[in-house]
């Protein structure tokens, strides 16, 4: 039997590290958005970001088949075409997109670890972008 487990490791801006998540998915509260670029003038603008490390685990009866860590940064505009993006909305959508991206990524059997992270970021960016126009998911440095 194969199980896919997605674990979220929250990398705080300080030194703390905590492990959250599991088969039920990632909690929105783990995406702690911080101001990134201030909004200037009227119209859209301003950015906030949340940095997390996603751990993708592929568990089989024989044990852990794959264990991949993907540090990602989710960047969300403060305001876009549809209006203000609240922190709560950004968190909910980031968690939703992350769960979908994780599931899709874990179904890719033949990927190397680095490729899995690339695939995850791309899928998460695609998903979150359907609801938050302009949102991005990049590798956290």
């Amino acid at each position: 039997m194969t199980r896919y487990v997605v674990v979220l490791t929250l990398l705080c801006l300080t030194a703390c590290v905590s492990f959250i998540g599991g088969p039920s998915g990632i909690s929105p509260s783990q995406f702690q958005f911080q101001p990134m670029v201030q909004r200037r003038g009227p119209g859209p603008g301003g950015w906030k970001s949340a940095r997390v490390t996603i751990q993708l685990l592929h568990v089989t009866d024989q044990g852990i088949h794959k264990n991949v860590w993907c540090p990602v940064e989710v960047q969300v505009p403060e305001i876009n075409y549809l209006g203000v993006i609240t922190d709560q909305f950004a968190q909910e959508e980031a968690a939703r997109a992350s769960d979908i991206a994780s599931e899709r990524t874990m179904k890719q059997e033949a990927l190397l670890s680095a490729e899995m992270c690339e695939h995850f970021r791309k899928e998460m960016e695609r998903e979150i972008g359907k609801v938050i126009e302009g949102a991005r998911v990049i590798k956290a440095l």
Partner: protein, 195 residues
């Protein structure tokens, strides 16, 4: 830098800013001379944004019925300035929803080049269901695209790239979220995050 860069020269330029055959997750990527050069290019661009800001102001003044939005995300890993000019007409589409149309211009920070495309996005219940990008002229957006392009050319010393050059493959480079083997010049000289 010469405005008449050939495709091989542009490929070489990209290789000067991205390490070949190395993923961004791999050891040595961030320390590579190419990546450090790319960071310096982005920092330099951010320090000299006056011409770009002037262009966005001009577009806003010249197209008062449009929403002009500066979506430049150089701080977030793009290699271009970006403006989206939303057309005032938002037609309803069959099956529900609306089609949001915009003319988008990307201006590279690595070479004096720009790309202009039309973005047609289907919006249903506050959800973006479908995106179509058209790099050729489109009757629906052409009147606005022409005005935007004219201003871009008059305010900035940039020229467009041919479609062949834009989509020339760069197989040994990873550009942001575009994996090794899949990148094209447009992804690396501008951004792979186009919508």
């Amino acid at each position: 830098m010469s405005a008449d860069l050939s495709t091989p020269q542009l490929l070489e330029l990209v290789h000067q800013h991205y390490p070949a055959n190395l993923r961004d997750a791999e050891e040595g990527y961030t320390e590579s001379e190419q990546y450090q050069r790319l960071l310096r290019a982005r920092q330099g661009a951010l320090k000299s944004s006056e011409a770009w800001e002037r262009l966005v102001s001009r577009l806003t003044a010249v197209l008062p019925d449009c929403r002009v939005e500066d979506w430049s995300i150089i701080f977030g890993g793009d290699n271009c300035w970006r403006v989206r000019v939303y057309l005032p007409e938002v037609p309803r589409i069959s099956g529900g929803g609306q089609e949001v149309r915009a003319v988008v211009v990307l201006v590279s920070i690595l070479a004096p080049l720009y790309v202009r495309y039309s973005s047609l996005r289907k919006l249903v219940d506050r959800r973006w269901e479908e995106t179509k990008l058209v790099y050729e002229d489109l009757p629906e957006t052409k009147p606005y695209a022409d005005k935007v392009e004219m201003l871009v050319r008059s305010e900035l010393s940039v020229r467009p790239l041919t479609l062949d050059a834009l989509f020339a493959p760069v197989p040994d480079i990873q550009c942001r979220n575009t994996a090794l083997g899949k990148a094209q010049l447009i992804d690396c000289l501008f951004t792979d995050d186009r919508w």
